[in-house]
């Protein structure tokens, strides 16, 4: 075995060993439902900020964005911007009211004033759909990545990642998931910082010289918008889905229930924004750095989608292929990417299983009457089921485009979840009819328009002109939630609004 392989395997093994140890430690502290779903609300604001960052920055953003920038220049950077600005929506609109009025899931806040069984079923359906689509994107990405890094077959990688996430989540619950995410966030920030530092070092920390160098090598047009997106409306539509979608992402929202108060939820968003923003600014150096030092042709030659841009950059900056420095840095970056994938899939699995076990099984089927032991047992079994299903889907989806799946997850979250969450917290006239219509229409329109888009049907036959459905499906979701509420009369929903509104804004009676 070559030096490179031994090194890669040992770094991967280290990541696995550390995370397994965390899981073992957490499993002894996870007995009740609150401990399983919300780490006993014992996570501090700063810790949760790191965990949100770790939950959010997927392999798609680490490897995908660096690749997009390396290949398409400026346009790739627009993703980075949207992914940070999204947290303004989360901070100003949903984080604190949701923390004040819920227990474990999005549906908890809805069930307060609406018909619990109906809205829990609807919200569980959209949560599971979003989580599974996003999970699928991560699994497919992970499978191809590990194949590229270690030359392990795709199928084996998917099964490995799936089994690891089942183990973390079912044994260690939210506590293990949180610490895996915190460590991953630290590793990712360190890796991105080191790479950016080394890129800038080559230019004596003169950013202007760096950009001038890029313009010399690839022409000024590489730094200008328009290489990837010809249609500005497409960019607006993508921006809408990114900026609103995060506020409907179940695995992110669930994190707010792990902190003790709404104020801690606020602190955690501030920390997350600091980390996520710094990281995405650094994608400039990772992506453009890869274009400059590795070269676009070499990046494409290794992976047509550009996903290997950041690891290849590490190899070059460490001293080049075949050198000890280069191979070590490459192996380190690959281990970081592996930890990144594990942290995100664990968060998603927990979100999907809480929607099924807590919302559907305990509250709909059992009418809320289940003791702690049963609740945790059902939750763990659901984790295993979700894990097995995503392994099977991951195997079936081999070769699918990861970016499309990620865009779809954000589109569904922004169209199906966001209208219902926002209207439930702020509009008195909202009711069960509106929730069901909003979630239903949001789900169907976002997925339907995606199926009719140029990237699925081909640009000639496409019935919907944009690849990102957000600009149409988000207003449709809001409209359906409004019309549904007006048509369906429900007096209790209006009466209970008083209570939800006071709770959401003051934290009275918050758990």
């Amino acid at each position: 075995m070559s030096y490179m392989k031994v090194l890669s395997f040992s770094m991967f093994a280290l990541v696995v060993a550390v995370t397994l140890f965390i899981t073992y430690w957490a499993s002894r502290r996870t007995k009740t439902a609150t401990e399983f779903y919300a780490a006993g609300r014992s996570i501090s604001g700063i810790q949760n900020g790191f965990a949100i960052a770790g939950d959010y920055m997927s392999a798609a953003s680490f490897l995908g964005i660096a690749g997009l920038i390396a290949l398409n220049g400026y346009d790739g950077f627009l993703y980075s911007v949207g992914w940070l600005v999204a947290y303004i929506t989360v901070l100003l609109i949903v984080a604190e009211p949701l923390r004040n009025s819920g227990k474990y899931t999005i549906a908890d806040a809805l069930a307060y004033r609406l018909k619990p069984k109906t809205v829990r079923t609807a919200a569980a359906l959209s949560t599971i759909t979003i989580s599974v689509i996003y999970l699928l994107a991560q699994m497919v990405g992970a499978g191809s990545l590990i194949k590229l890094l270690l030359d392990i077959p795709y199928e084996f990688s998917v099964i490995l990642i799936g089994s690891m996430m089942i183990l973390y989540v079912s044994c260690g619950g939210m506590l293990a998931t949180t610490w895996v995410q915190i460590i991953k966030a630290g590793l990712l920030m360190f890796g991105a910082f080191l790479l950016s530092f080394l890129v800038l070092l080559k230019f004596n920390f003169n950013v202007v010289a760096f950009f001038n160098g890029l313009a010399e090598k690839y022409g000024q047009s590489f730094l200008e918008p328009g290489l990837l997106y010809k249609n500005p409306i497409e960019l607006v539509s993508l921006g809408l889905a990114l900026v609103l979608g995060t506020a409907g992402m179940p695995h992110i929202l669930m994190r707010f229930y792990t902190v003790p108060t709404a104020k801690a939820a606020r602190t955690s968003v501030l920390w997350a924004m600091g980390l996520i923003g710094s990281f995405y600014i650094m994608t400039t150096f990772l992506g453009f750095g890869a274009a400059y030092f590795v070269g676009r042709e070499a990046v494409i030659a290794t992976d047509a989608g550009g996903n290997m841009a950041a690891p290849l950059l590490a190899q070059v900056l460490g001293g080049g292929a075949g050198t000890i420095g280069g191979e070590t840095f490459l192996a380190f970056l690959c281990a970081v990417a592996f930890a990144t994938i594990l942290a995100v899939v664990a968060g998603l699995t927990l979100a999907a299983s809480s929607a099924f076990a807590h919302d559907f099984y305990v509250n709909v089927l059992k009418g809320g009457k289940a003791d702690e032991i049963t609740q945790v047992k059902v939750a763990k079994r659901t984790v295993v089921a979700v894990g097995v299903i995503s392994i099977i889907l991951g195997l079936a989806a081999k070769g699918q485009n990861v970016a499309h799946l990620v865009a779809l997850a954000f589109a569904v979250a922004s169209s199906a979840n966001v209208p219902v969450i926002v209207l439930s917290i702020f509009w008195k006239g909202f009711n069960t009819g509106g929730a069901v219509a909003g979630i239903g229409v949001g789900l169907i329109s976002s997925i339907g328009l995606m199926l009719l888009s140029p990237q699925i049907m081909g640009s000639e036959a496409a019935l919907f002109p944009l690849n990102n459905p957000g600009i149409a499906s988000i207003p449709l979701g809001f409209l359906a939630a409004y019309v549904g509420s007006v048509l369906y009369k429900e007096k209790t929903a209006e009466e209970r609004f008083e209570e939800l509104f006071v709770r959401a804004n003051t934290g009275l009676g918050a758990e």
Partner: protein
């Protein structure tokens, strides 16, 4: 009981303070953000170089990060100075009224 709190002076004050801050800030943030795709898409002037080869389109995109951080910091400042004390007062009044 909820209706009582809902109609109390403190709660109304809290909501009016929140609305006064949040509505303009949300409108500003979203406008600033969507100005980016629209301007880089439709205004060729954004391709003009500003410093060396760095163009306005890149500087505008970069400014988004700092504006988002500033908005978050402003919100945090206002929330802890104004919203939190009012919410705390309402919580205390309620627990006092119930003699828990």
């Amino acid at each position: 009981m909820w209706k009582e709190i809902r109609e109390s002076k403190e709660f109304k004050e809290l909501i009016s303070q929140k609305v006064k801050f949040l509505v303009p800030v949300i409108i500003f943030s979203l406008s600033y953000y969507f100005a980016l795709p629209l301007s880089v898409g439709y205004l060729p002037i954004m391709k003009t170089r500003a410093i060396g080869s760095i163009n306005w389109a890149y500087l505008f995109a970069l400014s988004q990060f700092f504006v988002a951080w500033l908005v978050a910091a402003a919100y945090s400042y206002v929330a802890s100075r104004k919203f939190d004390p009012l919410a705390e007062k309402i919580r205390q009044q309620k627990s006092g009224g119930e003699q828990e």
